[in-house]
């Protein structure tokens, strides 16, 4: 626009205050979530811009925001279901860096902004099945993990992808006691990681992730038990051999590397045949658990010929 220096802007050029404020709020939100210019405590949940993805979303009604933010496992903040929401206030998800290492052409440390920049965010409404036999429906906001991994150009030796959670005992009180070996580590086979259902989430209900749900960046693998979906990721490593995973280290006879939701393979101590849907009310009976948490059509082919009771 060409503008003569001696006159102010046309009134038509002036952005109405509401829009201007809205835009500022959005920018601040993005800054808070992506760049880290604003202390996260000031803006606990900023709006994100995203598109829906009905193709990969369930039509089931999502759980309430309150249920999702107040009832979950994140042992770094304590082993009670309400510990994550009650004890994650001191956690600072910004600024954030992710190290990329291992069998890939592009490695190094990237800011969260670098990680997210090229990816369009989308909403994926997924079922989540916890290994403890309860389940939820969660509207995540994120992007396919595979799209990110391709940017690092993994080489032919990259058969697995390993992830690591941040280690900050001063901000994560659960890490002060070795309930599990810290930091938490998880892993996927490369084809699982590249699967279009596998996403990295940065948001929930259209807003940035609350600390207790794995801010600022977490994995979501909807056909596996929830503990596979590692939270607050600081390292992504391409490996040739199957990487160690925290629950498998803790109790190998109970938690395998694959941890696919499977109603036919019980946990040694409890049945996995049914689950309780959180939010369905105290008088709602359990519902049957579906093979691969209902994603069998999309993912069963990944495991053709494998004995899933052996590779649990």
């Amino acid at each position: 626009m060409i503008r003569s220096p001696d006159r102010g802007p046309l009134t038509s050029e002036i952005t109405p205050r509401e829009i201007y404020l809205d835009r500022r709020r959005l920018m601040a939100g993005l800054a808070a979530s992506l760049v880290g210019l604003v202390d996260a405590a000031e803006l606990p949940a900023a709006r994100l811009q995203f598109a829906g993805n009905p193709r990969f979303s369930t039509k089931e009604a999502p759980n309430s925001y309150e249920d999702i933010r107040s009832y979950n496992n994140f042992y770094e903040f304590g082993t009670g279901k309400e510990d994550p929401s009650e004890r994650s206030g001191r956690f600072k998800p910004t600024p954030w860096k992710v190290a990329v290492a291992g069998e890939a052409e592009v490695t190094g440390t990237f800011t969260l902004e670098d990680i997210l920049k090229p990816h369009a965010l989308e909403e994926r409404i997924y079922r989540l099945r916890c290994v403890e036999a309860w389940s939820m429906v969660i509207p995540w906001v994120g992007f396919p993990l595979g799209d990110l991994l391709k940017r690092f150009r993994p080489n032919s030796r990259a058969k697995y992808v390993a992830f690591k959670t941040v280690l900050r005992p001063d901000e994560m009180p659960g890490q002060r006691f070795p309930v599990l070996e810290w930091p938490y580590v998880e892993g996927l086979r490369i084809d699982e990681a590249m699967h279009p259902l596998t996403i990295l989430a940065v948001g929930l209900y259209g807003q940035t992730l609350p600390n207790q749900n794995g801010a600022p960046l977490r994995l979501v693998v909807p056909w596996k038990y929830g503990f596979k979906s590692i939270k607050s990721i600081v390292e992504i490593r391409f490996t040739e051999r199957q990487p160690p995973t925290s629950w498998n280290i803790s109790a190998p006879q109970e938690y395998g590397f694959y941890a696919n939701v499977n109603p036919g393979v019980d946990h040694p101590r409890w049945s996995q045949a049914s689950e309780r849907r959180i939010g369905s009310g105290i008088f709602a009976p359990r519902r049957p658990t579906l093979m691969f948490n209902g994603y069998a059509e999309q993912v069963a082919s990944l495991y053709t010929g494998m004995d899933l009771s052996k590779y649990y």
Partner: protein, 215 residues
């Protein structure tokens, strides 16, 4: 103090149950959280086990503090423990399993932590039933023998808790330690009594005297 002990203890024991009830009814914005069935299950179990261990504290306390009247509180504590554990079991049967007979039987048979939990509760049934003064009188000495079933019941209760935690064994360890101390105190006391009884018997049948008589 003695006069108010019973009503006070009653109120204290009823408090967790009242609190759960208020939360279940949504009183003043309270709630049982996102997973009310599991919350009821866990809290009822917690209090059942705590009160059971509390019951086992009475005798050591009464003996060490030399306050025999404390023993008068034991029945109420035990019955409260039993009440919480029955509700814990009923919640599992009804709200968790929806009275699905097949699933219930399968779980009891297949899941060791449920098997030992149920065994613990079943051991307590005759104790609750015979807790009245009438039954104490009728059973006489056998009453005390019968009521020693509380020890295996508490052991199984601690195992039941231990076997279901995923990785954080701190709380079950606390209860197991408390139980070990309480049972250890009793074992020591029994040993001391036996030794005293043996010594008394020995002095009554002094071998030297006996030999002297024989010579």
């Amino acid at each position: 103090m003695r006069r108010y002990a019973k009503p006070l203890l009653f109120a204290l024991c009823a408090l967790p149950l009242a609190w759960l009830l208020l939360r279940a009814l949504g009183f003043a914005g309270l709630s049982l959280g996102a997973n009310p069935t599991d919350e009821l299950q866990d809290r009822l179990g917690d209090w059942g086990l705590r009160l059971l261990l509390g019951t086992l504290c009475i005798t050591p306390l009464a003996v060490t503090l030399r306050k025999t009247w404390l023993v008068g509180l034991r029945r109420m504590l035990g019955l409260f423990a039993f009440t919480y554990l029955v509700l814990h079991f009923a919640n599992w049967l009804v709200l968790d399993q929806w009275l699905d007979g097949r699933a219930i039987v399968k779980d009891i048979a297949k899941r060791p932590y449920i098997t030992v939990g149920l065994a613990s509760l079943l051991l307590l049934v005759p104790l609750a039933f015979t807790s009245t003064a009438g039954w104490m009188r009728r059973l006489g000495k056998r009453w005390q023998v019968l009521h020693r079933l509380v020890y295996p019941a508490a052991v199984l209760g601690c195992i039941h808790f231990w076997w279901q935690v995923k990785a954080d064994w701190r709380e079950p360890l606390l209860y197991a330690t408390a139980l070990a101390l309480l049972l250890g105190w009793r074992a020591r006391r029994t040993c001391q009594r036996r030794r005293a009884a043996l010594a008394a018997a020995a002095s009554a049948l002094d071998p030297l005297k006996a030999m002297g008589r024989g010579a």
